[in-house]
């Protein structure tokens, strides 16, 4: 995560202040002041409990089991905290409403706790918004995780822990000697303490029934505010720590854009923006591979167990596959164009920023740019991670970068699908088998559209696998970014690419195919040999599809178009290649979780 404040900072601060509660008040008004300060803390905790019980922004269709121990605990926690606050509410009387005056000792500490906890709650609230009709909506990619039952449980556990600490403070104050003059506040404190203990006990019972995993607590603590740091560009003076931080911030910004694109209408994509992103993603995954290989080398002396090094090497290989798949996207995009309005916005360029940040981490040249040409050396492993503590931080940066590539592939896949439906994809007529067209560009044939969607899907899958592999490494070495995987698991977004239906072209194949990949991994650059590999890959795919089209073959549920099917089965307008129309293959929308308020 980037170095901004996170929810865990507020929890830590609240606990620190509570532990530092000053001496017991002398009695009389001081005790009443302290009781009111404790009440303020209890009221804030009650607001947390209300949020948890109401589950703002929960996704529709998610089953709420009213009978579950956690649901009961959330409802009871709210009730008990409410009751505790009522016990501490003073009767309206001029004598005990002396107006605003500086609090002292324990009262001041508890006021501080209330302020910090309220600020923490507001930090969480920044991830939600509301529509004019009052419906709560998700504003950031963190909101689905915050609304998930797992994270709500973690939050309730934190609230219960804080409540039990408040109860202990209340008891201590109520039993302190020298209070004979203030029986009412002492009684109120005892009663409130009892309610707080009841609340904590209910949550404890739910925890025993279904424990809160440490990963969920870590995720809750890592949740930042919704505001992202401004866009940054690396300067020649950035050191390794600065480059890591810049990589993470840029990846977070790209993930946010991808999340918004996936959830709200986005400006039209352009040929330029697509090509730009594909190039940058190719280079980013390339840099991630190089960085992971360097870390693997550096890991040996610090992590003697061979498993960690093997895990990092696997992640590097996964990043290499992501690079190959993004390169296939880049190549495919060089053969299509999108018809876009002349006023279409220019790409924001932040994906290039990420390639630049990761490139500056990878290469020694402090002025390295994407256009630097061949003269650049990679950093030696010891320069990237001078101590064992640097390894998790470097892994975090790489993990964030790979994670945002997956999100980017998802957003662009959806936008490209929409462009295909709108008939906005064209190809150079010359690239078609029968280029009799009278214009330089012709509507893209179905096979080309299927190809481009296919390579995006492959890039998404490869990026997802690379992010998953990096996430495993992050967990093994204790990198802060491990919460990314927890967030995906909590929100059910880790299976995005497994849910995308598989449209298969007649000549369809996920680029690059296994033979082409092997050839490239062997270092083969000869176009002649690569073309043969591609042809063989396609022939293999054809064989599989022919086999799948056999009457006895069992089929999956995906809308697979078998090769050699009658053209009549794919109606639409003819195009320049004399084959099928530029009709989008049957690619149902991937399951989207549109956030709405839970009833």
């Amino acid at each position: 995560m980037s170095s901004g404040a996170s929810f865990g900072d507020f929890l830590d601060d609240a606990r620190r202040q509570m532990a530092a509660t000053g001496p017991a008040p002398a009695g009389g008004d001081d005790l009443r002041d302290t009781a009111q300060s404790i009440r303020r803390v209890v009221v804030v905790l009650g607001r947390y409990a209300r949020d948890i019980a109401a589950a703002p922004g929960s996704r529709p269709g998610r089953r709420r089991d009213r009978e579950s121990a956690w649901e009961q605990a959330a409802a009871a926690a709210y009730r008990e905290l409410n009751q505790a606050a009522r016990r501490l509410t003073p009767p309206v009387s001029p004598k005990i409403n002396p107006g605003i005056r500086p609090s002292a000792g324990a009262a001041r500490q508890m006021d501080g706790v209330a302020v910090v906890l309220q600020a923490g709650r507001e930090l969480l609230d920044t991830h939600f918004g509301s529509t004019p009709d009052g419906t709560i909506v998700h504003r950031t990619e963190w909101a689905p995780a915050l609304s998930s039952p797992a994270v709500r449980r973690a939050l309730l556990a934190e609230v219960a822990d804080l409540a039990s600490r408040v109860a202990a403070t209340s008891d201590q104050l109520a039993t302190a000697p020298g209070w004979r003059g203030a029986p009412a506040p002492r009684h109120a404190l005892r009663e409130a303490s009892q309610r707080l203990r009841t609340m904590a006990g209910l949550v404890q019972a739910a925890r025993q029934h279904e424990p809160v995993p440490a990963a969920q607590r870590d995720l809750l603590r890592a949740i930042p505010g919704s505001a992202l740091p401004p866009r940054r560009v690396p300067g020649p003076g950035h050191d390794i720590a600065g480059l890591r931080e810049g990589t993470i911030v840029t990846a977070e910004r790209i993930s946010r854009v991808a999340w918004h694109t996936a959830n709200r209408p986005a400006p039209a994509i352009t040929t330029s923006s697509l090509r730009h992103t594909a190039n940058a993603s190719t280079l980013t995954s390339h840099h991630c591979e190089l960085l992971l290989r360097a870390v693997a080398e550096r890991t040996a002396p610090h992590f003697p167990a061979p498993d960690v090094r093997r895990e990092i090497t696997c992640a590097a290989e996964a990043a290499g596959r992501a690079r190959a798949s993004w390169l296939a996207v880049a190549r495919t995009l060089r053969r299509i164009m999108l018809e876009t309005p002349s006023d279409a916005p220019e790409p924001p360029g932040e994906v290039s920023d990420l390639a630049l940040w990761t490139g500056r981490l990878t290469y020694t040249d402090p002025r390295w740019t994407l256009a630097s040409g061949p003269e650049h050396q990679t950093r030696p492993p010891y320069a990237l991670a001078r101590s064992v503590a640097d390894i998790p931080l470097l892994i975090s940066a790489v993990h964030h970068a790979l994670d945002c590539l997956e999100a980017t592939a998802g957003a662009e896949y959806d936008q490209l699908q929409a462009a295909a439906r709108a008939g906005r994809i064209v190809v150079p007529a010359r690239s078609l088998p029968r280029p009799e067209a009278r214009e330089p560009f012709a509507a893209a044939p179905r096979s080309r559209i299927t190809d481009v969607l296919g390579v995006y899907r492959t890039a998404g899958q490869a990026s997802a696998h690379a992010a998953t592999a990096a996430s495993a490494v992050a967990t093994s070495v204790g990198a802060p970014s491990r919460v990314l995987a927890t967030a995906r698991a909590a929100t059910g977004t880790d299976g995005r690419w497994r849910r995308v239906p598989r449209p298969v072209a007649r000549s369809g194949l996920d680029w690059p195919g296994p033979l082409e990949t092997s050839m490239r991994d062997l270092g083969v650059t000869s176009p002649w040999l690569l073309q043969r590999a591609i042809a063989l890959d396609r022939a293999s795919a054809q064989l599989i599809m022919d086999a799948a089209a056999e009457p006895d073959a069992s089929r999956g549920s995906g809308p697979v178009t078998a090769p050699g099917r009658s053209r009549a089965a794919m109606p639409g307008a003819g195009v320049a290649d004399g084959r099928e129309p530029a009709e989008l293959p049957q690619v149902p929308e991937a399951g989207r979780d549109i956030p709405e308020r839970e009833p």
Binding site: T271, S272, R275, A278, N279, T282, L283, H286, E289, G320, R323, L327, A330, R331, L333, R334, R335, M337, G359, L370, A371, S372, G373, P374, E375, H376, P428, R430, P435, E436, R438, E439, P440, F441, R520, G523, T525, S526, P527, W528, L529, L530, Q531
Partner: protein, 146 residues
Amino acid sequence: MATASIFWQVQQVRAAAGLPEVLESARAAFDCMLAEAEAHEHPGTPLFPAFVLAATAAASGRDAVLLAPSLPWPPRDNGPGGGQAFGPGEPAGVAARALASLCQALICRLEAAAGSAAGAGDRDACRYAAGRARVIGDLMAWPEDE
């Protein structure tokens, strides 16, 4: 083999007379550069980022030329290997230098065409394509002692 094709394109670009021929030779040259750059997109070479970016710039340059109103259509043949897959290629450094020389020829002719073309569409196309050629030329700036 590949460089022979590139140098043939250099000759075509230099020999082009008149706007339609310049555009036609530029289109073929960008196709040739695209194919050559893609042939060297191998992550094992230090030129990998440069070839990735150069290939995309070549595609953008080709698209710009294709949109030029004065481009003759249908196109002529590309010549030896232009826009098609080559046989076994030369080292990346040799290819990069050959591409850089093709870019120089393209920049010169396209900028001149942009200055003299009567139509705004042709001028814009030539100017943009010259810009793409300059990008590729910068990316392919391989040191002489390599």
